[in-house]
Symmetry: C2
Subunit: 218 residues, 2 copies
């Protein structure tokens, strides 16, 4: 292992919430942890690409990353978390709340989503695609992905509630959040199924157009 090049701070960030974490001055310990995490994930993706998700065991991944199985679970609570852990949710809420309060909610959602996707595409397009494709194909992952816990639905609901300045969401808010959540999740999955060749911004526009006109197309 090479020696650390002193503990001075790296260059300042760009405001990208994902990069921000990488730019903070990290202690040796933190750097090691980050490195371990990345190694585990990288090796996992490699093995999964070779053998498939179900055929790849945690033990194999741990061995490939040269950590003990115990350590694996200290970094990822479950095997599914390897693929599903999402660092963007807070960013999405911020983006939503940053929109003007008098803008129609559907438009706020559309613009926030597009903004976030643009950032993601720029920095981790490939990883995003792999993850989405796995999410679509592996039942266990698909199930947990759509679970309201870490899912868009909860996120839209939070934004709606805060924007209205109330504590408890109304019935209408819940339904709206559920519908938009379902539609946007499906949008991203569709993009992944097409191999990422389609323009996702264009897809998002189509999705929200459908929602806005009350499904009159069907």
């Amino acid at each position: 292992m090479s020696a650390p090049q002193s503990a001075t701070a790296p260059p300042a960030g760009t405001g990208n919430p994902i990069q921000a974490m990488l730019e903070a001055p990290l202690s040796l310990r933190e750097r090691k942890k980050l490195k371990t995490r990345q190694t585990i994930r990288r090796e996992a993706y490699r093995l999964i690409a070779e053998q498939g998700y179900e055929n790849t065991t945690v033990d194999q991944i741990a061995a490939a990353a040269e950590v003990s199985p115990s350590t694996f679970f200290r970094y990822f609570a479950t095997k599914e978390d390897l693929v599903l852990t999402d660092e963007y949710d807070p960013a999405m809420i911020d983006a939503l709340l940053a929109r003007p309060a008098d803008e129609p909610f559907l438009r706020s959602c559309r613009e926030a989503l597009i903004g976030l996707l643009r950032q993601l595409l720029e920095h981790e397009r490939e990883e995003l695609l792999v993850r989405m494709r796995l999410t679509k194909d592996v039942p266990a992952l698909r199930a947990r992905m759509i679970d309201s816990g870490n899912e868009s639905q909860q996120l839209y609901l939070t934004a709606l509630t805060r924007r209205a300045g109330v504590r408890e969401p109304t019935y209408a808010m819940r339904i709206i959040a559920a519908a938009i959540g379902g539609a946007t999740t499906e949008t991203v999955l569709q993009w992944a199924e097409g191999g990422g060749t389609e323009d996702i911004v264009e897809l998002v526009h189509r999705t929200f157009a459908i929602l806005e006109d009350g499904f009159s197309e069907a």
Copy 2:
């Protein structure tokens, strides 16, 4: 176990898809299987009510139902299936396709859903409530419930596709199915959360009203 009353056909059905299964002439073997299945499920629900879902093991359930663990898995592929297996999906598709083809799709969905719910409420209101409450509370269940595999989304998509008389669903169909699926799932869960005290038909009407007017309420 009481003797079968000869192998002649029982009285004709009422059109209820659930009763229909119970009315078919069953061989001894079939009747035993059905009974075993019911026993397992009943004992499982009892234990889960006492101890919670996670604290109840398959071995306990098997013991209570007086079958071997092997047999349990022959009847329910996974522990989750105990709660999640749905016999109504085909009925829902039929109900959807039975609506006039020129009716707006949203209205078809609403009416089909209401019709199905009315039947369910009449015959198994309590079981439905318990299941929905579990589905809302246990993360693993909530996740799989919302999974497109056995979920309304897939079901709406099928109906939309067949009605349009095409093979492959269009992009718009997928988005519409996802949105309606999300909204209706949330509707039923909300009903369950309220303990079933609210009028679910009324909730369904509210949900579809929101969808129809393009979320202008938010």
